[in-house]
């Protein structure tokens, strides 16, 4: 490799770092002030790109001048900034007091709605953007040609960093933002209207995301997958840099840009893995990121969110339970093939959701990547059957073992963190698993996955397979429920409510959480294995973000405050989704809207409503 090549490679790394920083700086600012991790930031980025491919060509029709190009870019960013204001006023303002998990879910609801809105407005086909007038040529650098637009992008990052620094240190608005990042309640007690400050911050954050998107149009076509791919990268940048720290985001973006552009030379297949590994290492060494600070505790919800009481089944619950169990077993006798299929899937998701609530509701470990263990269980089972030539039985034993093994590996890092950093790390690990399954085409079949994951002959009929699934899932749920009621479960709740006090009475909090994470991984892995056989195939969507969100939505719907809520939530969520999805082209929109509605109106879920009813009776 000659020197010129290395320089150019490094320059292109800087160009992507620059773009990444512009987007991540907005995310980190919004988080710093509002303490909300805004999934919709990726949607703002995507909207910025779509706005630009609409506005810029129209402007260039008047005159192909750089001035009009950049006017178009800034106008697009400003429009997106206004959308950020709309989101703050309509949604975020109602969310500041709710637990962070609900905030994440609600902003993900916005992601889903924007996805459908984009498809509806701009259609499914990618839209290429115009190239920037005056920057279309290449520049000769040490014998290599390098696009002038990329050189321009390299300058954008430091320019934005400089402007943000001026804004944050030389204007009252910026000083208030920095003060609110430390202690927003105190800022309010000094007479600052937080609502206006938050609205302003959202405008700035969304503007930066939109700017990042609009600046991309000469490089990539606007497409409807841009949002989720950028948001994970932006999360990684903000987490590595320290959430709330703009200079940290810059540093992290530069490191990741270089890692990507040189990593691709050494390990072309696993660049994504490298990035997430870096994040894991940084978080273990510096749990608040490179330039971040410990989260100030002020202003957080005081009561723990999760299972508060663990009552035994009363008479009514026993009756309900008996009816549900009888109905489950009777489905193959009375139901048609479709009903049996849905019932089987409900059982599988019930186990997966229950295992997630074992972590979230019982342990306070908010995992944002639970689909990883579900999906890895599915891949373990599926690959053993198709590539390894094993039968279903050993594959179904391997599935929970795989789930447990990866949960133990990832969990070792995860339990070292708390709060939002923990949630981001679980998400990152899930994305590693996703990336491996997606990119390792020879083994995993890549995007298409692997087909032909069929049960053994005796279990091949839908009815028998239903009973097999029912047996596994009911046993799995019963076992996890037993653990919740056992001293181990109580210990986890103690650590959830006060880590310090639990620590002070001699509980090894990390060890307990690690074991819980592993156990939940095993249960999710078993669910994933069963799911692979019920579908007959495996593919990367099984461990993608939307799957993790589905599990969380089940908890939200069922209510994470009760032990059995997750089961009810899984049943309701999956039946509704399965029923509505074929009926409309806009199911994402409705799913997103329902998640938001649930968070706002019904934050205790179905079983919470049932509990309130019982208390009133």
């Amino acid at each position: 490799m000659d020197f010129g090549f290395l320089v150019v490679q490094s320059l292109s790394g800087l160009a992507s770092a620059s773009s990444l920083f512009v987007i991540a700086s907005g995310l980190t600012l919004v988080f710093g002030v509002t303490r909300i991790v805004n999934f919709a930031h990726g949607s703002f980025y995507m909207l910025g790109a779509y706005m630009a491919v609409t506005v810029v060509p129209w402007l260039l029709d008047f005159d192909r001048s750089p001035l009009l190009f950049f006017t178009g870019v800034l106008v697009s960013a400003a429009v997106v900034g206004v959308l950020g204001v709309v989101m703050e006023v309509l949604l975020l303002r109602r969310l500041y007091k709710v637990p962070e998990l609900f905030q994440l879910l609600a902003t993900f609801g916005v992601v889903l709605m924007v996805q459908d809105a984009v498809l509806w407005i701009w259609g499914p086909v990618e839209i290429p953007g115009p190239r920037a007038p005056g920057l279309r040529h290449g520049v000769e650098i040490l014998g290599q040609r390098f696009p002038a637009y990329e050189l321009f992008l390299i300058c954008v990052g430091p320019a934005v960093l400089g402007l943000l620094w001026l804004l944050m240190h030389r204007t009252r608005f910026g000083i208030l933002i920095r003060a609110a990042t430390r202690d927003r309640e105190m800022v309010g007690a000094l007479g600052v209207n937080q609502a206006l400050l938050f609205t302003g911050t959202l405008f700035l954050g969304a503007f930066l995301a939109g700017l990042g998107g609009a600046l991309q149009i000469p490089r990539v076509s606007a497409n409807s997958q841009m949002d989720l791919s950028i948001i994970t990268e932006a999360f990684v940048v903000t987490v590595i840099g320290g959430m709330g720290s703009v200079p940290g985001a810059f540093l992290a973006a530069v490191i990741i840009g270089q890692l990507n552009s040189f990593g691709v030379l050494i390990f072309p297949k696993i660049t994504l893995v490298l990035v997430f590994l870096l994040m894991a290492v940084v978080l273990v060494v510096k749990p608040w990121g490179l330039l971040g600070r410990p989260e100030p505790a002020a202003g957080r919800a005081a009561l723990p969110e999760g299972i508060l009481a663990t009552p035994r089944f009363g008479l009514w619950e026993k009756v309900i339970l008996a009816v549900v169990l009888a109905a489950t077993l009777a489905v193959p006798v009375f139901g048609d093939a479709y009903t049996v299929k849905v019932a089987t899937e409900v059982l599988i998701f019930a186990l997966a959701a229950f295992s997630l609530n074992f972590l979230v509701g019982n342990g306070g470990i908010v995992s944002f990547g639970h689909a990883a263990y579900f999906g890895l269980g599915a891949y373990a089972a599926g690959l053993l059957v198709t590539k390894g030539g094993f039968a279903m039985e050993p594959a179904l034993i391997a599935a929970p073992l795989a789930g447990a093994a990866f949960a133990a590996l990832f969990g070792f890092f995860v339990v070292r963190l708390t709060g939002i950093y923990l949630a981001m790390l679980t998400l990152a690990f899930a994305q590693i698993a996703y990336a491996v399954c997606f990119q390792w085409v020879e083994v995993t079949g890549g995007d298409n996955g692997v087909v032909g994951v069929w049960p053994s002959a005796w279990a091949r009929s839908r009815e028998v397979f239903h009973y097999l699934v029912a047996g596994c899932c009911i046993l799995g749920i019963a076992a996890l429920r037993h653990v919740i009621y056992a001293p181990f479960g109580a210990t986890l709740r103690a650590a959830r409510d006060s880590e310090q006090r639990a620590d002070a009475i001699g509980i090894d909090v990390r060890m307990h959480r690690w074991l819980a994470f592993t156990l939940a991984g095993a249960a999710a892995g078993l669910a994933g294995g069963l799911y692979a056989f019920s579908k007959g195939s495996i593919d990367p969507t099984l461990l993608a973000i939307p799957m993790s969100i589905d599990f969380l939505a089940m908890l939200l719907l069922g209510g994470m405050q009760t032990v059995m809520g997750a089961v009810a939530g899984a049943a309701a969520f999956h039946t509704i989704k399965d029923f509505f999805m074929p009926l409309t082209d806009h199911w994402r929109f409705f799913l997103g809207a329902s998640i938001i509605a649930l968070v706002l109106i019904f934050p205790r879920g179905l079983s919470g409503a049932y509990g309130a009813l019982r208390r009133r009776a």
Partner: protein, 237 residues
């Protein structure tokens, strides 16, 4: 009797299921310094948070400058002219001294001369010397001065001063007493919570004693100093 600037009547408040205040009544007159005395956990800070709207009262009423401010957001109460200096100071540690003051800045409302950065630097010369320094790199006493100066930047009519002498060296405590008297001389009303009778007696006109969330004594500072029974029952440790 002078005109009351702050009237608290029957305020109850608490955290989650825990009740802390059980119907607190007190008044603060224009231009006076009143001390809210009590032991740790008696409800002094909670009373101040309830007045300030940071812990909205569950019952009762808070009136300030003739308006009913019960249930208002803290920022509106601050804008109405009620300043708050929290017990744990809550300095913005990432900001410089000058930036901390900037966060507190609000325009003056009455005819009184507005507080400016220069005037505050006169009263607290230490702050002037370190105006460009990050607040994290200040001593406890310096932070206490900064937090008072920051609140004065809002040009309040009255100030709630939560335990200004707590954990400070005797020299600094004297500076705090001077600062309170200076505020009084400027015409501000001050409600300060205190555990130390010496400090309270040095600066206050009147005193309230709070215990288990209820006011047990209200009277002049001289009356409190004369009342051995109240002092031994509610104040001495």
């Amino acid at each position: 009797m002078a005109e009351a600037v702050l009237e608290v009547s029957g305020v109850t408040a608490g955290y989650g299921p825990a009740e802390v205040l059980f119907g607190v009544d007190l008044t603060l007159e224009r231009g006076e310094v009143a001390a809210l005395m009590g032991r740790n956990g008696a409800g002094k800070s909670t009373t101040m948070k309830a007045i300030m709207g940071m812990l909205p009262p569950r019952a009762g009423q808070v009136r300030f400058a003739g308006q009913d401010i019960t249930g208002w957001a803290p920022y509106r109460i601050a804008r109405a002219g009620l300043g708050y200096v929290p017990e744990d100071r809550r300095i913005f540690t990432d900001l410089t001294v000058a930036e901390n003051l900037e966060v507190g800045r609000r325009p003056a409302q009455g005819a009184r001369a507005a507080w400016t950065v220069e005037r505050l630097y006169e009263i607290f010369p230490n702050l002037a010397e370190m105006r460009g320094r990050r607040a994290a790199a200040m001593s406890g006493g310096e932070q206490q001065m900064l937090t008072i100066a920051r609140t004065l930047m809002g040009n309040p009519e009255a100030v709630l001063l939560d335990e200004p002498s707590e954990g400070l060296a005797p020299v600094i405590v004297e500076l705090m007493a001077e600062a309170v008297l200076r505020m009084k001389a400027e015409g501000l009303a001050v409600l300060l919570s205190e555990q130390s009778l010496d400090f309270a007696a040095a600066v206050s006109d009147r005193a309230y004693v709070i215990e288990k969330g209820s006011i047990r004594f209200a009277g002049t500072m001289a009356a409190l100093e004369a009342d051995d029974h109240i002092r031994t029952t509610y104040l001495t440790v």
